[in-house]
């Protein structure tokens, strides 16, 4: 229990610390308004051009809600890579290593707290905008509940990907390039720009075999098409990838510790 208590306390203090950035909500409101408006115009044109009112089962309003949620998930994504990079480069990692804490779990807990606050504040804004642009989706309550169930593991999975990249700092000392590639992969292969269902079937098969869709598309899809079978399937896929990537993080971290040579005087 004390093991869980310390990391829960870390997540909580990280969440509270991020309330200091509440002023950023204004910036997010502006960004989301513009981006969702642009998306709406693009998709409106696409629907009109195709002469259809549904693409792969998605109406225009559902696409808007889908995109609102994918933007929330992406915008609340962790800065873990940059933090680990800085910890390694400056030697600040020493502050954590002399304490009875696991560094990866410390980063996970801190990130979870931060991401929860960021997501909540962004989601409030996104829901308001999507409501204005598209009206409420049907079964909003059920969909929102399913999203809340799917989000924690989506956050953990997202964190593990960035953590793996961040641990590259023990070898590369600058992981910015890798981080950019990874974040773009999550955007495209994760379904941030459009549901994976709209990709050609052979491409869908490849994307469904990767973890990115279970971070972004999976939870967002549940908001507009809530379905218990899909939720359970998503949770299993998330769990699978959490185990795979968690194991990878543990192995790479062990190698990193062996290699550690702190910077600084």
């Amino acid at each position: 229990m004390s093991f869980l208590r310390k990391y829960a306390a870390l997540a909580w203090i990280s969440a509270r610390s991020n309330f200091a950035y509440a002023g950023e909500v204004g910036g997010r409101l502006m960004f989301l308004s513009v981006i969702l408006f642009i998306f709406m115009c693009v998709w409106k044109a696409a629907f009109a051009n195709a002469g259809q009112d549904r693409f792969a089962g998605y109406s225009l309003d559902e696409i808007i809600w889908y995109l609102a949620l994918t933007e929330c998930i992406m915008m609340s994504s962790p800065r873990v890579t940059a933090l680990i990079d800085e910890d390694v480069r400056t030697g600040a990692i020493a502050v954590q290593l002399v304490r009875p804490l696991s560094y990866p779990l410390y980063r996970l807990a801190s990130n979870f707290g931060e991401q929860t606050v960021k997501f909540a504040s962004t989601a409030l804004v996104a829901v308001a905008i999507a409501w204005v642009l598209g009206g409420p989706p049907s079964n909003f309550g059920t969909g929102a509940m399913m999203v809340l169930i799917a989000l924690p593991m989506a956050f953990v999975l997202d964190f593990l990907g960035y953590m793996l990249i961040g641990l590259g700092a023990f070898w590369l000392e600058d992981t910015t390039g890798l981080m950019l590639i990874y974040s773009r992969l999550t955007m495209i292969a994760g379904g941030m720009l459009m549901p994976l269902d709209l990709f050609p079937e052979p491409v869908q098969a490849i994307l469904n075999a990767l973890p990115f869709g279970y971070i972004v598309c999976g939870p967002a899809r549940l908001l507009v098409h809530p379905d218990w079978v899909s939720l359970v399937s998503l949770l299993w896929h998330q769990l699978f990838w959490v185990v795979v990537m968690g194991t990878a993080v543990a192995l790479v971290y062990r190698l990193a510790l062996n290699r550690i040579a702190l910077n600084g005087g």
Binding site: S2, I13, R16, S17, A20, A94, V98, P100, I260, G264
Partner: protein, 263 residues
């Protein structure tokens, strides 16, 4: 006499890559070269040397962050690089340029967090916290976000935070860096007082000779990875009457530039 730290023939060799055109050539750098010493419990020791001497590498081996190339060390009975997690409950560390306090929250919140990290009993924690708040005079600013504190207030809170779990050994890496004279004196007094009252073993690294004179009873100088001096501060002062401690150390460092002075 029990020893808080025992080091025998500690050695750390780094592999460094140098570029020659398109090729990279590996060479070895000996950062710590067969260092041996012991520190009795309750002693306040200053571990000093010029930049690049091997001080930080030695400390990182003693905290278990680095594994030595060869040699042995025991810190409070633990082998640091093998028992780092267990040893962590019994040591504290303050790194002058790296904070453990959460920037946007009051120091008191970090204290509450540390109580959970170190699994402190609630009653013991409250008593200890009250004692530290009183002794370090943190009361006036304990509920103010750290980002609004002066550097002196922040460092007092940092040192207090590192003592919260009742460590038997504390490592202080440049604790007074950037502080004004008054804040520095105040912090030195607190550390010295804690060392004497609680029998806390203090391992100090600092380029500030005022820190050494105020806090430490013993000074060890390391240079080019080797111990070049190990004596009490009093004895060093007596051997260099007419010179400030700063001049005495500069003289020893200067000698080192021209010849190898080995114990």
């Amino acid at each position: 006499m029990r020893h808080a730290v025992e080091v025998e023939n500690l050695r750390k060799v780094y592999e460094v890559k140098k570029r020659r055109g398109f090729k990279s050539v590996k060479s070895e750098v000996v950062s710590v070269n067969n260092v041996s010493f012991s520190v009795p419990e309750g002693q306040a020791l200053a571990f000093v040397g010029p930049n690049g001497a091997g001080k930080s590498t030695t400390i990182r081996m003693l905290t278990g962050i680095l594994t030595p190339t060869s040699g042995e060390a025991r810190v409070l009975g633990y082998t640091p690089w093998k028992d780092r997690a267990k040893m962590a409950f019994h040591i504290g560390a303050v790194f002058g340029q790296r904070s453990q306090l959460w920037y946007h929250l009051p120091a008191g919140d970090t204290f509450d967090l540390l109580a959970k990290i170190y699994n402190l009993d609630k009653f013991d924690y409250r008593r200890r916290r009250a004692e530290l708040v009183e002794r370090f005079d943190l009361g006036p600013f304990l509920d103010i976000p750290v980002r609004r504190l002066s550097l002196g207030q922040r460092m007092r809170a940092e040192v207090a935070a590192s003592l919260l779990h009742g460590p038997r050994l504390i490592l202080l890496d440049e604790p007074t860096i950037g502080l004004d004279i008054h804040a520095r004196q105040q912090l030195r007094e607190l550390i010295r007082d804690w060392n004497r009252r609680e029998g806390l073993t203090v391992f100090l690294t600092s380029h500030d000779t005022g820190d050494i004179e105020s806090v430490a009873e013993r000074v060890m100088i390391i240079n080019h990875g080797r111990l070049v001096l190990d004596e009490t501060v009093d004895s060093l002062r007596k051997r260099n009457t007419g010179r400030s401690l700063e001049d005495a150390l500069a003289h020893i460092y200067g000698l080192e530039m021209h010849q190898a002075v080995v114990l």
